[in-house]
């Protein structure tokens, strides 16, 4: 069994959110629902040298979505057995089966499953399963003008990007869930910890 995943080079990402929009477009999601989100992270302070103060600040962007975990906590807790993991490791919600109980939202550490008020169900990133199964690439990866994103077998992605990691601020510690996204951390974040700047947007 393969395990698909995403890779993003955070040094290349300019935060244009084309991936987020391409995803919304393909999934037909209304405002407020984002399967892929671009988190803005930043920090820094004023520094004094002599009599002058200069800002010493940093910022970077972090595109994130469902990580199609190897051991997804959302899956076993679902009472309707609506969540499944396919041969490519894609974790998908069957919206015909889902009753909209929110339990998977509680289980996911990264806020991937999202509730649709009008339809009374929960849905999330499905790795563009239909496109990928037909030989294409996920909409987000296709849309990135900086070519910052890649998709494929997660082990191959990790092998071709030494140093890539999931340990980037502000993603929650994955415990033993095995999220299958990996990132080349932004250079500014190696010695400094930022905070989320666009909370309302994500």
């Amino acid at each position: 069994m393969a395990q698909y995943g995403f890779y993003v080079d955070l040094n290349a990402c300019i935060g244009c959110k084309a991936c987020q929009m391409a995803c919304k477009d393909r999934a037909g999601n209304e405002p407020g629902i984002n399967w892929r989100r671009v988190i803005e992270v930043g920090g820094g302070e004023w520094r004094q040298s002599g009599t002058s103060w200069t800002p010493d600040i940093f910022a970077y962007f972090l595109p994130t979505a469902c990580h199609h975990c190897s051991n997804p906590p959302c899956l076993p807790v679902c009472p309707t057995a609506a969540i499944s993991k396919d041969d490519n490791g894609i974790v998908k919600i069957n919206v015909e089966q889902c009753i909209g109980c929110h339990y998977c939202e509680w289980a996911c550490l990264w806020g991937a499953p999202q509730f649709y008020e009008d339809r009374g169900i929960v849905d999330k990133c499905d790795f563009c399963k239909d496109i990928v199964d037909a030989g294409g690439s996920p909409a987000c990866v296709e849309a990135c003008p900086m070519r910052a994103m890649e998709w494929g077998d997660i082990e191959e992605l990790r092998a071709s990007h030494p140093g890539a990691t999931f340990a980037v601020v502000p993603l929650a510690d994955p415990q033993d869930f095995g999220p299958n996204s990996t990132y080349t951390a932004h250079v500014a974040s190696t010695d400094r910890v930022g905070e989320i700047l666009n909370q309302e947007e994500i």
């Binding site: 407020g32 629902i33 988190i39 906590p73 076993p76 807790v77 679902c78 009472p79 309707t80 057995a81 609506a82 089966q97 889902c98 009753i99 909209g100 109980c101 929110h102 339990y103 939202e105 509680w106 289980a107 996911c108 550490l109 990264w110 806020g111 999202q114 509730f115 649709y116 008020e117 339809r119 009374g120 169900i121 929960v122 502000p170 929650a172 510690d173 415990q175 869930f177 989320i196 909370q199 994500i202």
Partner: protein, 337 residues
Amino acid sequence: MNYPDHEWSLIIFNILGDLSVGVFVALGIVHFYAARKTDAKQASQLSTRALLVLGPILVLGMLAVLGHVGNPERMFNMLSNLDTSWLAREVAFYGAFLVVGGVFAVLQAITLLSPAQQERLPEGFRKALPTLRPILAWVAALLGLAFVFSAAMIYYDPRLAARQTGWAHLYTPILFFADTGMLGALALGVGFVGNYLWLQRKQKEPGAKETLSIQEGLLRDAIQGASFVSIALIGVLFVTIPIYLVSLGAENNNLNEAILDMLHTDFAMLWFLRLFLAFTGAGILSAFAWYLAVRPQRRQRLFYLMIVGAFVCVLASEVIARYLFYGRNAVLLIGGM
């Protein structure tokens, strides 16, 4: 982040569910005791009407929980994943408790019929009743307790532990079971008072005087038991809560700090009210009720008032407790992101 505010339906569902299970189990104990002390007929006079009130309460709880889910008409889908989902198990046990408990209540209600009416039932059925009833009662009680356990496990589930909502702590099952016990015992006390007052109004019927004095004795015994249970459980809660808060502090991560912080700031007033009401209801008023129950002939009105007051305080306290319980989740969703 679109996080809907559906928690009220969960609060109502859990409280009504726990209360019903508590009342059912307490009724079983009281009935057993009353049947030994007097006879089956008196015991049934005491407990059957209270039992019949549970049905509507449980149905109400079910309607409430359907307000939480997005697609209520698909509710039977919720039984699809009994293998791994505590939520599916909770729903299954709740439904089974409702059905088995309902059948039991109907069989029990037969005792309220007049002997002539009972004569008309098929002979074999009447003969089977004495064996059937206790079996159903036991099965229903176990199903009910299994429901409370699964409800607690939904939050206690190690797969949710990572979210650090402060749910994966022994406090969760203790809260759920203490809730069941206290609400059950006190609600039953209120039910018995109501039942007794109702019997009092029908005094003119033959044999009523005698029944009434036996019933009064049973009522006082039952209330002694109920107040004792609620005092004991509030003791357990008041030992658990500090341990819980200390352990949250000791784990030393941002999210636990956020919970503690909330209890000090936004939720401070609610938190205080919760503890105050629990202490007043399950502690002070229950103790008073107990005091008056062991001294017959004294202050009837006040006696009834104490039990009703204790129940109202505990109910209000539990509503706040559950509100705070879910409040922790809403705040921390952002932290997890």
